[in-house]
Amino acid sequence: MIDTTLIGAETEIVSITITREEVQKYCRVISEENPIYHQVQAARKAGYKDIPIPPTFPTLFWQALKTPWLDSDAVVIHSEQTFSYEVPLISNMTYQCKIILGNIRTRGNKQFLKHRLLIFDNNIEIATSETTLVLIFHQE
């Protein structure tokens, strides 16, 4: 089980830049053919500075952030996900990101961990991704 004193733990702040190619690769996997993700001109015509990052993409940012509290033998299930945006995220822009472990709730052999991934552009918070994971521990 994860110690509840870890509530409030944060990752380091990491700079993340997503390339157009990474967006396009993601879009191919989810069969997203909207030209705003594949052609810069289409993106600019629709009002974006460059190719936008799809709204569900930021959970991939977790790969660049270390969350040591999740290193356990538990089975991990994603139970809830929320994205909130002030502005869309754009490829080739560099964002500063960190994850905060916001809450831990324990019920039997399960723990519900609420995380907030904060995304900043020049110190202004522009997007948040909230991820609730359920950790199921083997009962002894």
Partner: protein, 132 residues
């Protein structure tokens, strides 16, 4: 404005799960191995929840070409989706104004069991409030 509700049916293949694992870095064996999935208490290989959520953005995608921007998107994953399951996702418009749109998103498997439920909100960007 397209007509809603809209419905989409998709079968979750091994290829989709493998491709999503590759881009997301989520290489938990429950996604690849039936044995590992069973050991963890599931009947078959589990699809990534985020794959399902990402697929459900297809409904609102055309709006992103026309001044609309996603400001909020929430999904609750009610039950896992497994390899070869057929997912039916539906988007229903809840509110529609000049500046804001909201949709209810729901997805069921082939047994009509709820898989995902949630809400997506979009706002219109204007010249006084540029998008980016």
């Amino acid at each position: 404005m397209e007509s809603f509700p809209k419905t989409m049916e998709i079968v979750i293949t091994n290829k989709m799960i493998r491709q999503y694992a590759a881009i997301s870095g989520d290489v938990n064996p429950i996604h690849f191995s039936k044995t590992a999935a069973k050991k963890a208490g599931f009947p078959n290989q589990v699809a990534h929840g985020m794959l399902t959520m990402a697929l459900s953005t297809i409904f609102i995608s055309p709006l992103l070409q026309r001044q609309w921007r996603v400001v909020y998107f929430r999904i609750k994953f009610s039950s896992p989706l497994f390899i070869d399951d057929r997912l039916t996702i539906q988007a229903t418009m809840m509110n529609h104004s000049e500046e804001e749109l909201s949709f209810k998103i729901s997805g069921n498997n082939q047994h009509n069991a709820p898989i995902i439920q949630g809400q997506i909100k979009l706002k219109k960007c204007t010249e006084s409030k540029p998008p980016v």
